[in-house]
């Protein structure tokens, strides 16, 4: 009996855990409080029945992660040049991992546990796993055919209600290519056809049968917003609003007003419920719920925006409605307002080598990242591209070199943050991965040489301490179902 009760308690704890996990970022005052137990008063007088889970954003079970780390051993990587992404370059370094985590990092004197499998990485480089903060893998997969073109719900300028995770095709061969380039974590975003494109999802880059099997546990959601040319072209072309930049801004403001109203209704309801008063629950609205999640600070704003002046306008909108922009994506002109972005604490995710492909990208320069860095602003190098994601290390190298051409003296120890620690931070998982520090996930890449070289190749890639890719061992070169029986059989390197 007692055992049974314990088990039941465990189950309910698990349920709470799951619900907390699934509702991360779904809005509301995070702490579950559907029954009024505050002053030790039992809940029996609460004739208020809890809402069915699907009608309450806080209680919804959502689409929880089923990711389980692959088998790993205690390991010691010895002899590599280690870029920790905390600003350090350690020559002849030692990194010890155990239980899927980094447990020690240091110079050659670092103690190695007796049971550790030693990996001789002399002459190699070791970095955190690469994190691509802007990917459409799975939602715009290969092959790029209409039937799998699932990245833009281009039917309304506000589709905050859609979630990229429901478009992810886990068999996209692009995941495998990215992994061979050292990418261990990805933020998959909806496209930029809409002012509000929907929720992003953060994935571990492991082969899995389901999206849930890749979903990064406890990562917050992001909301994809888009400035500029795309929304006004898509909807203007349909004879709808927005068709201009000012129409875009109206669209954002209107939505935030609606969202604030929605959030207030739920707050009122929960306050009454807490006091034991009778109250009608507002009808759950998935679009408003995501926007309200931003206003509560649970969902991170990932804002596609090229031009500096439009970024400044977006910052004003955020202030008007009391939310925070976590990162501008593409951010081609961020260098023009670098001090403002540094002051506001907003990251810029950009390329180094793309420019001039549309009017709003006309002023793209390779030194964008470097000028931001020089001003103390947060820099992320992203891909938005299934080709570039395979070589974010080189894109970061181009950005670093552009700064060094200006005499900035940007070190590799700094530039590695642009594709590891900084995107982790901007995706709200900086406490879990993105740097080589004790307690962080053992998401690691062994490179054949300096990863900022054009000749560098990711030789071994680890997620949570488990080997997930090995360039020299075909057993660790997973292939997508799609590629079986096709020419090439999924072999690409």
């Amino acid at each position: 009996m007692i055992r049974w009760r314990n088990a039941a308690a465990a189950v309910s704890l698990l349920a709470l855990g799951l619900s907390a996990c699934a509702t991360t970022g779904t809005g509301g005052p995070a702490k579950p409080s559907s029954t009024a137990q505050k002053d030790g008063k039992p809940a029996e007088k609460a004739e208020i029945k809890p809402l069915p889970k699907g009608l309450d954003g806080q209680a919804s079970t959502g689409f929880p992660s089923t990711y389980k780390p692959f088998p790993s051993q205690t390991m010691a990587f010895v002899g590599a040049t280690v870029l920790t992404a905390t600003g350090q370059q350690i020559d002849n370094g030692v990194v010890v991992t155990s239980g899927g985590k980094v447990v020690a990092v240091g110079g050659p004197e670092t103690a190695i546990p007796a049971d550790a499998v030693k990996v001789d990485a002399t002459g190699k480089w070791l970095t955190p796993g690469i994190i691509d903060a802007h990917s459409h893998l799975g939602v715009y997969p290969s092959p790029g055919v209409q039937a799998r073109s699932d990245g833009n719900e281009a039917t309304d300028p506000n589709t905050a209600q859609v979630w990229a995770e429901h478009s992810v095709w886990p068999q996209d061969p692009g995941f495998n290519r990215a992994r061979a380039g050292g990418v261990t974590t990805l933020q998959i975003l909806p496209g930029s056809a809409n002012l509000f494109g929907g929720r992003s999802v953060t994935l571990k880059n492991v082969p899995a049968l389901t999206m849930q099997g890749m979903k990064f546990p406890d990562a917050p959601y992001g909301l994809k917003m888009a400035c500029g040319e795309n929304p006004k072209r898509v909807y203007g072309g349909k004879g709808r609003s927005p068709s201009t930049a000012m129409g875009n801004v109206f669209g954002y403001r209107k939505a935030w007003i609606d969202a604030a109203d929605y959030a207030r209704k739920w707050d009122d309801f929960r306050a009454k419920q807490q006091k034991g008063e009778k109250a009608d629950a507002p009808k759950r609205d998935l679009q408003m719920e995501t926007l309200a999640g931003v206003l509560k600070g649970d969902i991170l704003v990932q804002n596609h925006c090229y031009r500096a002046d439009e970024e400044a306008t977006m910052i004003d909108i955020a202030k008007e409605f009391g939310y925070k922009i976590t990162m501008f994506h593409h951010a081609i002109e961020s260098y023009k307002i670098a001090p403002l972005l540094a002051k506001e604490g907003i990251c810029s995710a950009t390329w180094a080598s793309w420019t001039g492909f549309k009017m709003e990208s006309l002023d793209g320069i390779d030194a964008n990242a470097a000028i931001l860095w020089k001003n103390g602003a947060c820099v992320v190098i992203h891909s938005d591209d299934p080709i570039m994601t395979q070589r974010l290390n080189q894109e970061a190298a181009i950005a670093m070199t552009a700064g060094n051409k200006l005499g900035y003296g940007i070190s590799r120890a700094e530039a590695i943050k642009w594709i590891t620690a900084n995107p982790a931070k901007a995706m709200g998982i900086g406490d879990k991965t993105g740097s080589i520090e004790p307690g962080k996930a053992a998401d690691l890449v062994i490179w054949s040489r300096d990863p900022f070289s054009v000749y560098a190749q990711a030789e071994k890639v680890f997620i949570d301490g488990a080997l997930i890719y090995d360039r020299k061992d075909a057993r660790f070169q997973p292939k997508s179902d799609f590629e079986l029986g096709q020419p090439g059989q999924g072999a690409f390197n």
């Binding site: 092959p143 061969p173 795309n230 080598s353």
Partner: protein, 450 residues
Amino acid sequence: MIRSLLLASAACALALPAAAETVAIVNARIEPVSGPAIPAGTLVIKDGKIAALGAGVAVPADAKVIDAKGGVVTPGLVASSSNLGASEVSGVRETRDDGTGNALSAAFDISYGINPASTFIPFARDGGITSSAVVPVLSGTGGGAHEHADDGVVEEMTAGKSGDGDPSLFGGQAAFIRLKAGASDIVEASKLAVTVSLGESGARAAGGSRGADLILIRSALEDARAFASRRAAFEQGATRDFGLSRLDLAALIPVVQGKTPLLIRVSRAADIRQALKLAAEEKIRIILEGVEEGWLVAPEIARAGVPVIVDPQADLPDSFETLASRLDNAARLNAAGVKVAINGARDFNNLRQERLNAGLAVANGLPYAAGLASVTLVPAKIWGQDGKIGSLEVGKLADVVVWNGDPLETTSWPLNVFVGGVEQPQDSRQTQLRDRYAATDQSGYPPAYR
């Protein structure tokens, strides 16, 4: 205050190139491409040409001396296939002249639309590129394989009228430019090849299928032969009807005569075999571009002596005709004896990617020397310019780049760029933007005054 502002803006004006002078580049690793590297040597430029190169070469008394400080000297890089000068902002239709629309087919001549003042010419040169083939695309088929870019919002990015049906069968005629700053005419040669596509985009041009595409191409070549031999009859209306206009047929005459190659964009191995068969049966010269599945048929391409232009980054099965794409495609083609030219990214004005693409191919097994040749001598040969440029040889035009390190490496950049012996200015619209915003300015005036 006013004075310093004036001075600052004068410094910002695009510098004009210096006149050709005698130059000696010393303390350099010289990569002639046509021969083995000279680990430490001198290269002399005189009267716009390469006058001498080697380890023991004397510096002429009147020479301006450039100390490369152990850097690398290479031929100017050649872009194998681009829209440079013919397209400014790919998303702005009015700035695009790299596709024919549907008024013309083979007769479209890209050279007429080339703008020597394009801001992306100095930008490309800043990446060590001194010349480029400028090659039409099929209208409506876009510039390349990056359909997912810009968050999946596919833009209508091609010149010509929009929304009026399939693109023409032939893309038009290619040209070759040299990136001379300040020159009123940069077109070195025009009508160098006629372009056509097999595979998915060719099928689209032919109304929907590969079979139709090949039949129509063969029929057009047959018509061109008939047109060439019966021109007088044609003028009198005494020939059968031809599938293409007079202008398009005339443009194909040098192709059927074997004087001008057909540049065929093709991906799938089976389509590559069709292209080789077409060339053999029609007795025409061809160049293959794309060739993602080329490694599967590399010996056949080598036997046919057909050169290829590839993008080594293309390793995704992003369509049903690129399922076998591999990062080592260039290396495998080269190993089989195929002449391989490597391209930059046609999209995003990113020709500077070309040398890094060669580096990527080297990382995936292409010998270094072949990597360098793939962005210099091989494309020069493909476009019939190797008598003048493409390698460092005495008597060739002095299109020369001095690098601060390995030219295929991410962390290197050009220190000096010469076109025809004239040192080129290093600034571009991008560097001016950079310098405006990298500057710290306490004047109280906005950046527009910098």
